[in-house]
Every structure is written in C-alpha cells, then in structure tokens.
Symmetry: none
Subunit: 411 residues, 2 copies
C-alpha cells in the first residue's frame, strides 16, 4: 500500500515555516508499513492544487493533505479535493454545532466565514477537531482514499493519532519497527564498504546508513505484525553488524556519545575533568547535558589565555613561550594540571586553532591537540579538522569523547 503527502500553503513555499506536518505524517505512515514515494508542497492555487491531487491519486492508494482548511476564501484544499474526486459538498450540522460550541468555550465571537469549515464532502468520514475549528475528513471513492487534515501541528497531530492512525491500521496488515545503531570513528563510506553485501541482500529487515554530524547511524527496519516478530528479525542482523564493525558501534536509538561515556564512567566509578582552550567549555557542557553527570563529573576548566593555563593548571611559561599554546607539550601539561587540581581519575585537554584565522604562531585553522592524562600516563593526539569555527570545535569535542570511550573500553 502506498500513500502520498501533500502539504498546502504559501507560507511553506516562501520558507516562512518548516514542513513539520510532512515529517510527522511520513513517520506515522512508515510505522504503519505504508510506503511514501512522494511528498509535495503546493500553494493555495486551485489549478495547481487540482493537478497535484490528481497526480497523487493516480500514483498512490492514499493521499493525505495538510493545511488549507481555514475559514478564509483562500483556504481551498477541502473543496478542491472534493471536486477532483467528483464528490459534492454539504453542510455537516454536527460540525457546525461543534464550531459554535468551540467559540462559546473560548469566549470568542464566531465569524460567518467559519460556517465554511462545517461544509464537508458528501459521504466522507468526518474527523473531529478537538483543538481547533476545522474538522478533517476521509473520502473513499473508486478504491482510493483521500484524507484531509488541518495544518497547525497542534491540530493535525492529535487528529491523526485519534482518528487516522486507527483507520489506517485496519487497512495495513503489518507495521514497521526500527532499531538505530550509532557508530563513531569511521566514515559513512567505510561503513558502506564493510556492509555493502548485507545492505544489498537485506530486504526484511532493511539496513540503511545515515551520516549525522560526526557520526554514522545505521537503521535496521523490519516489517512485522508485532514487536516480538520484529525483534526476531532485527536481532540476528544487529549481531552481524556488531560483529563486522566491532567497537565502532557505541550505542543504539537515543544514546549519544556523551550519555554513553557518562554511563561507562559511572560503571567504572571514575570521574573525568576537562581543561579546555579552543573548545571553550563545549566538553563540559556536553557531559553536563546528560542528567546524572554529577556522579562522574565534578569540575572543569576553561583556560583560554596563556596566563590562565599557567596560573591555574601549572603549564610552564617556558613551554608556552617555546612551543606556543597550540602544541603537544601544552596539551599534555594542561591534562596533567587538570588531573592534579581536580583530583579526577582521568582528564582530557583540548588546545587548537578553531579559526577563522590561524594563530599568532602561524598554526593553521583546524590544528587541534587533544591531551589525555590518568594517574599512570599522559599522552596527546594531533588532529587536523576542516570546516568553520563551530564545526572544528564540535569535531574536537566528539574526538575527545571518542578517545575517552576507547580508553574506558580498554580499562
């Protein structure tokens, strides 16, 4: 079974608002195992809307529209949809009653134009709107289904969940269940290379990679009639992938590299502290974004100036003088200093050139040293990141957490 999504509204064509309705509908349809091959955005223009609806009806079993159900003359979705399907319009008394009640309840005056919202395609299933004035509807004709829903997210979401999802469930024999594997430290293309066989051969479940900022996610999606059956399909494929990618798989679904590292530290009963220069607090901010971070994190230092690095972390002035702030030696001394001052079990330091300009010693933008210290060892790694200031800082942060994770894995 296939469906198409049509979002109607000039504000979408102008880019004034994001098309969150289309994403919501797409997510729900994919959960229902209904394939969506096209999404379209079109304005409140009768000719273009008619063409779009007819094309969609010719390609898909189900067409769902969002928006254009308002009271004003330029809201024409319902009317255009009805005429495209050759269905007449008729005042729907219960809806009119509901609209009148709505205005009474909210203490506002009902304008005559709102009557228009109660005029529905003949014989359609009327969908009550408990969060606005515009009812939605389902038209069934010639084996096709057209569903028109209001545009505002706070109206379309509850209406879909209350009325449309159950309706579509009956039509759909199986649903889709997904599990996401989160991968760090290797690029999308290498993941694709390692798993190309598996990805090409897998049909149920399917395996698809997505490159997110500084990580790759693999989505395993199974078509099944319930969660248990889905699990049986997904588990063996997940095993294969983990076997292929090993430790590069750092988590699943809603995990982040920060929450995962936070949990690992908790399990090992260890505390981390950071000494940040170019990341300026990003590492600390990231771990404290995880609730419960206080079990593994007590303090952190943002030491931007040479003087601060020297006074508070004990980085030697000679080293700063001789090698400059962006250097292996300074990164090591920052990590060591943070370890001594904080009393943490492990510390990470970051010093580098986030840009936009190279530093006073002519170090290029993107050069970053990440230092690492525990009670036994101090080490440092050099990186050359690309991108703008924000991206370089983010990559340095993720690389630091990746190093920390590797350390904890071998601990």
């Amino acid at each position: 079974m296939t469906a198409e999504i049509i979002a109607v509204g000039t504000e979408l064509l102008l880019g004034d608002i994001l098309n969150t309705d289309a994403q919501f509908l797409a997510q729900q349809l994919s959960r229902l195992g209904i394939n969506v091959f096209y999404q379209t955005v079109v304005g409140d223009n009768e000719k273009r809307l008619t063409d779009t609806i007819k094309t969609a009806l010719s390609r898909a079993d189900i067409v769902i529209t969002s928006g254009g159900l308002g009271p004003t003359h330029d809201d024409i979705t319902k009317e255009t949809l009805a005429s495209a399907m050759g269905v007449g319009l008729k005042l729907h008394e219960p809806s009119l009653q509901k609209i009148e009640d709505y205005f009474k309840r909210t203490g506002r005056v009902m304008s005559k134009t709102n009557v228009k919202q109660a005029i529905m395609p003949e014989g359609c299933i009327v969908l009550e709107n408990n969060n606005g004035t515009a009812p939605g509807g389902i038209i069934e004709k010639d084996g096709k289904v057209a569903i028109f829903l209001p545009g505002p997210p706070n109206e379309i979401v509850p209406m879909f969940n209350e009325s449309v999802f159950p309706y579509l469930c009956q039509k759909s024999d199986s649903m889709l269940f997904s599990k996401t594997l989160r991968i760090i430290g290797i690029g999308e293309s290498s993941v694709e290379e390692k798993l190309s066989e598996l990805m090409k051969s897998s049909t149920n479940p399917t395996v698809a990679p997505y490159a997110k900022q500084s990580e790759v996610t693999l989505r395993i999606t199974a078509k099944a009639k319930d969660e248990n059956e889905a699990k049986k399909l997904i588990d063996p494929v997940e095993k294969k992938i983990r076997c292929e990618l090993g430790d590069a798989v750092y988590g699943t679904d809603n995990d982040t590299i920060y929450s995962v590292v936070c949990d690992m530290l908790k399990q090992k009963n260890m505390r981390v502290s950071f000494a940040e220069s170019c990341t300026g607090g990003l590492l600390a901010q990231s771990i404290t974004s995880v609730s419960g971070a206080s079990n593994v994190f007590s303090q952190s230092f943002v030491m931007y100036s040479n003087d601060a690095k020297h006074r508070l972390l004990g980085v030697s002035e000679e080293t700063l003088e001789k090698y400059g702030a962006v250097s292996e030696d300074v990164a090591m001394q920052m990590a060591k200093g943070a370890l001594d001052v904080s009393g943490a079990d492990v510390t990470i330091s970051v010093t580098g050139v986030a840009g936009p300009d190279s530093d006073e010693n002519g170090n290029p933008v993107g050069l970053v040293y990440i230092g690492f210290a525990d009670k036994e060892n101090v080490s440092v790694k050099e990186f050359n990141f690309t991108g703008n200031r924000e991206k370089i800082r983010m990559r340095a942060c993720v690389s630091a957490y990746t190093m920390l994770r590797e350390y904890l894995l071998n601990k």
Copy 2:
C-alpha cells in the same frame, strides 16, 4: 522567473529528518523574487527521480535539487539529473584533487567510492564544497537551469550563499532585501502589541515578527532593484521600531546576544569570567563561539560539585551546608570567588536545578540563581524557568547574557 525545489532522500520520505533544505532554498528564492510553486520530496529511486525532474523542468525555469550526492551506490541525483537533461558525465580532476586533499587533511583514508563524487555532468559549472566532499553544480541547457546541491545543511547553506545566490542574482530583476532586528527581554505578543499599527500599515517594506528560542526577531523586507533603494525603504521603518522598543533591540541580522556582549566588553576594554554549576560550561562555550573572544575572556570555571565550589572558588562550607548549592548566597560567593581567582572585571555565576529531578534539598526544577560581581558590587537574581533540562540551561544562559548586557549598557 519560477523555480522548483526537489529534495532527494529516503530519510525524508521516512520522516527521519526535517526538510530544512527546502525551507532554506525557499527563503533564498523568495528573497531573489523568484516564484516557487512546487516543492517535492522523492527517494533515491531512478525512475521516480527522473519523472520528478522532468516534470519540474517542464513547469519551471530553474530546478534546484538537494541531497543524493554522497559516495554510496544509492546516491544518484547528479547522474539522474544529467541523463534527464541529456548531458554526459566526466571525471572532474580538480574536484578529485580536492576530495583527496580533504581526506589527507582530515587524516582519514579515502574510499574508492568517493571518486564517484568527482564525476560531474559535462560542461556544468562546478560548485566547490568547502565543508564536505561532494561538489555541487549548475547545468544550463535549452533555456533551463538545473542546480544540484549536497544535502547536509552545513554544506548546502554555505555553497548556496557563496556560489548559487550570486549566480541567480544576475538572472533576477527586482530582489527582496531583508534586515532582521533582534529583540531580547520582551515577548512576541508585547512586540506585536507595540507595533501592530506599523505591521498592518507596512507593505513595502513589510514587517514580520518571528519568535526564536528566548528571543524575538523582526524581519523588515523591502522589494527593490538594488541594495541602496532597499536601504532607503528600510531605514525609516527601522528607526520607528527602535524608537518604540528602545534597548530591547540588541542587534541586527547575524548578531547574537553573545557576539553583541563580546563587542560591548571589547569597547569597554573589560574581561568577563564565569562560575557555572547547572549550565555546566554553556556560558563559556557561548562566548567562545564568537571569534575574537580571547580579547574579553581568559578563563572560566565549571564547578559542579560542592567540593569544587569550595576549594576553587572559596564558597564557604557553612553556606553550602546551611543553604545548599542552589541558593542566593552560594551564587554570590561563586561570582565573588571567580572575580578573585580570575582577575576579570566582571563575573557571572549560575547555580540551579536543570532537572529532570528536583535537588536533594527539594528545590524545584527550573529554580536558578544568577550571581553577578564586579569590583564594587555583588548581586544575585532568582529565576524560575520552565521546560526540559536543555531549555532550562539555555534560558539560564541567555538570561545571564541579558543581565550582562544591561550592566554594560549602564556602565
């Protein structure tokens, strides 16, 4: 002149990601005075993508695609677009060189599949990608223009601004010019109240408010043939608004509250330092996101535990014991301590309950104290923020910067 936007990607059809590319492109095209009548989302399927491209080319002068330029076998936008327009493909040596350099620079191994990204439609204008491996391109044929761009927002946005916008400017007669005023400290509804007359009466330029996270922006948009003519239209309206809203207008266009505060500190030749508990580094991270922050910021302290607050900032153990970490007194002592340790001219401290749970003393989620110290005074303000952990931390951060800005305005 008309354009159509085609976003390519299964992850869009599944609702995994929001179609922010389409919104960005729509906004830019509307700025250029180019009409967009349709936006389409289609998957990485050759037949359907070909149909979509051909339909778009038959309806519009310009077709812009986003996504599907990756190295993997299911990325087919460029190839499909070229064949739909009857253009051959050819290895583009400079692009290959750039991709190889990219992998060298980032110290990663280039996979064979990446070569595919350097194979371009013959005779197309190649658009360099300075934030990723996939170049974009512009194909001109039979009076039509097809532009293919990468999908990731951090790649498509700079590529469009650097290469596509100037290219389309030449093709467009009258353009839209916008100036954004950034407002902080008052809500959207009060802004609308104060400016309702102006907003209703203005046609060229138009004035439209948008509520962003913890701030309101007003966009003044003028239709004009060049920047000078637009300026003449926008300036008087901006004056009126500033007159009405006063200091609530903190900046324009790409300013952020962080960059504005950073500039104010620079002008006054002052240095700031932070003592953060519940924001965990967010304040430091925010000011260091501004390039040149090193002139006004030398160090900052993330003191999450009571012990750290005491040892490094000299917060008295009795106070911590008696009032708890989330208290006026601790906020004040943190700010004072940071002032002494850092030698900065002004310091801000944040201690509060970011959630999800209330703290051990039963303080409610969202209770935040922001302390403030300079060489003359120490003060503190209490806030009760709503929202989840992330929102509460962000609101605390923005409130701290708003306080700092007010202080600097009166300095």
